[in-house]
Point group: C2
Chain length 453, copies 2
């Protein structure tokens, strides 16, 4: 280690995870008398709220990503390291990578969450979730490939299965995906095929609770459901997916059990904490919640370890009403800034009040020109909410990087209804529609590859 910064400022803040929480902590520490090391498995920050746009061919991965190094390259006290943290020793204050270890004075863990199939992990290959760029490209591949397979299929029943899309989970991601697929089928792709009418596609959104977007007010949930139905999405609430196998999705709604033939199933139903939660619990005895998130103190630290903070989706910060703060970008961002501020104060011998989330409101988009917005006292839906949604997202994207391009893409797609990023990519062999032993078409599932030196 021959780092100039190292000698100047002895207090070392190590941040694990470059999502909204970790990145904002790093940015807020840019001028603090500390040195910062930000570690991430990937070399880029991902603007996850727009990942569904990549999954549906509206944007390219690079449009919603920024290299961590270029975001932080002006901060002389900050080092970016691409790597994965394997273990933590909270007593010696060390973290371990696959090669080498790093000593910290303060540790911030913000490694987020991944999908959760509620004990049905065997559904994972059939019903991919949406957390990473690779997930989004896999969804994109499946969605567009399904239309290609339908165009080739001559059997009416089988063709219908190719044109049936089931989205499991009626939260923001599920609603956004369903809306975008409806747009694709009923508008963007309408003129592109000769053997099929893409408008015959069936898009089903399945939600276990009694309404979509459960965190919103019942009023807005109802408006979102109406917007979705106007777009052509079939919204099924109080409905549970009980099985996914052999291209059939089993949906139980009260006493009614439906077997739906669908070749494309997208998972937007549940999350579980990343491995860092378990690792921290093992070494510090900190409590985890049901999905493995770390129960944090009012200042986002771990009980008994004031120098370890957990934030973003990985943290369970319990509100006075007993519920945890939602796993959304504004929460993580504010938590990151709060912890950075606390560290600076602590070094100056000052104390910080408990973390408090300022809720500026929630926004969810439904298709081409509809959204719902909940600003507490003000609730909105429809076109105006959609405009706000567009500008808020562009604004935050531009914060890191000049993502003017995204704005132009959107304006363009809005008027033309085109989607430029409709590429079916992946390994060459995955780009094909196969024929199985029975002579039926299939899309090869994405298979994990094994890696060797």
């Amino acid at each position: 280690m021959t780092n100039k910064v190292e000698k100047q400022s002895p207090h070392h803040v190590v941040i694990v995870g470059g999502g909204f929480g970790g990145l904002h902590a790093a940015l807020s520490l840019g001028k603090a008398p500390v040195r910062v090391t930000l570690i991430d498995k990937r070399n880029f920050h991902l603007f996850q709220p727009l990942l569904y746009q990549v999954a549906t061919g509206g944007l390219s991965p690079a449009d919603i990503s920024s290299p961590l190094r270029s975001i932080l390259n002006k901060q002389q006290n900050t080092k970016v390291l691409m790597g994965e943290v394997r273990d933590v020793d909270p007593h010696q204050q060390k973290i371990f990578l696959n090669k080498g270890e790093i000593t910290y004075d303060t540790l911030i863990v913000a490694t987020g969450v991944s999908h959760h199939y509620f004990g049905n992990e065997q559904w994972a290959p059939t019903a991919p979730g949406l957390k990473t760029v690779e997930d989004a490209l896999e969804m994109r591949r499946r969605i567009f490939m399904a239309f290609e397979a339908a165009e080739k299929e001559t059997d009416v029943e089988k063709r219908r299965a190719w044109l049936t899309f089931v989205i499991v989970g009626g939260g923001p991601t599920g609603v956004e995906l369903a809306g975008a697929i409806a747009e694709l089928a009923y508008s963007t792709l309408k003129k592109d095929f000769r053997n099929i009418d893409t408008a015959e596609a069936k898009i089903v959104l399945v939600e276990g609770m009694d309404r979509v977007l459960p965190p919103y007010s019942p009023d807005l949930s109802a408006k979102a459901a109406t917007s979705l139905e106007n777009l052509g999405v079939k919204v099924q609430t109080k409905a549970l997916v009980t099985n996914i196998a052999d291209n059939v999705v089993t949906i139980r709604q009260g006493d009614n059990i439906e077997h739906l033939e669908a070749r494309t199933v997208l998972w937007a139903a549940g999350v579980k904490a990343s491995a860092m939660g378990t690792i921290l619990a093992e070494h510090t005895g900190v409590e985890l919640d049901q999905v493995g998130r770390v129960m944090v103190e009012p200042d986002l630290s771990i009980k008994g370890y004031p120098q370890i903070f957990v934030l973003g989706d990985l943290a369970n910060f319990t509100k006075p009403d007993g519920k945890p703060l939602a796993g959304v970008a504004p929460v993580a961002t504010q938590e990151g800034k709060y912890v950075a501020d606390l560290i600076v104060k602590r070094l100056a011998g000052e104390t910080s009040p408990a973390f408090e989330y300022f809720d500026a409101g929630s926004l969810s988009v439904i298709g081409r020109h509809s959204a719902v917005a909940d600003f507490g006292s003000v609730k909105m839906s429809g076109f105006f909410a959609w405009l706000i949604w567009v500008f808020v997202h562009i604004y935050y994207l531009i914060e890191f990087d000049n993502k003017l391009v995204v704005f132009i893409q959107w304006t363009w797609s809005y008027f033309t209804r085109k989607r430029g990023a409709r590429l079916i990519t992946g390994d060459e062999s995955l780009g094909q529609i196969g024929v199985d032993d029975k002579g039926d078409y299939f899309i090869a599932p994405k298979i994990k590859v094994s890696v060797k030196a």
Copy 2:
């Protein structure tokens, strides 16, 4: 088959391959009294001349791709089919897919070429070539990962090997890649790392002939070499790569043999014809050249089979000087238009003169603001040639789709020297820097996945 068009126009033109040749043939037949089926393995047309920009993080795949269906969706006589042709029966006038067969009246084959390692296929995993979007993403992953690995490596020798990039082949692709990597290392990435100085990177361009860009005039070749050297690229001509193994590239230049430690080797040296060449030769007895390209008649048809045409990179159309036309986009485009015109004339009972290529000139770019242009009597190099290069490429991109976005990206990167598409992606497990048995870092090579139903 319940196609309206089918009944109106009995003459069926089947086009295999949606590159420049196939696509322009299809576009030129848009209003002809025929029905057209365009078959491609992929669902998009790729603007291959800019693929090196994707490989070096300047553009996203979608920026240089357009969905074939949306390019052709206004042509009522045209059908697009995603699939791979497995075999041809020229006597029954049929082609065979993995499921089903299609009868043609006229067949146009334009399936292009892939890389060629001159009998050293074992180099393929170490030295990837650049033909597909996936190839470009793989190059991008390796280039950016190499800088990440160098940042982590503490051993000076090993670090130098991570910062050494060898580009094999001094044609347009090799020159463009070398220039872009030099820009990355010596300018874009300069401030992004803390442990390494990216300006210490060594970029070596190896060419077997006595000069780079052999198809250009010696004068322009010399200017290109000077431009490259000004950018910091080491240009080695009359040099042959004789081995690539264990992170060492062996280069023979006359009697001098050099063993260069390099972790990144990019292949831009040779091409071989796609499988359709062999399939056609088998069934028609047509002659193939040394790299498997189909020897075509003056009207681009196959000897004895006036209803089968081969064009683009797959065709060897011999010029009066005995050399084949170059495998570049303008040749393929003109050939596609020529064959479309010939078909229309033939249906009207007219004949066509032999194909003649109108050479509007050649352009190659070298880094951020230099290029060489050869318009026959007018030869140019430097900034003005670069400007022409930019406008010509934007113009052709816009022809199919509104790729205004590309223009904005470029303007932006030109002034900021940023490259927005610097994502290291791939399978999750491929996004990591591994540690091998000896404790050395390695980047997992991309491994072919096997596909099953």
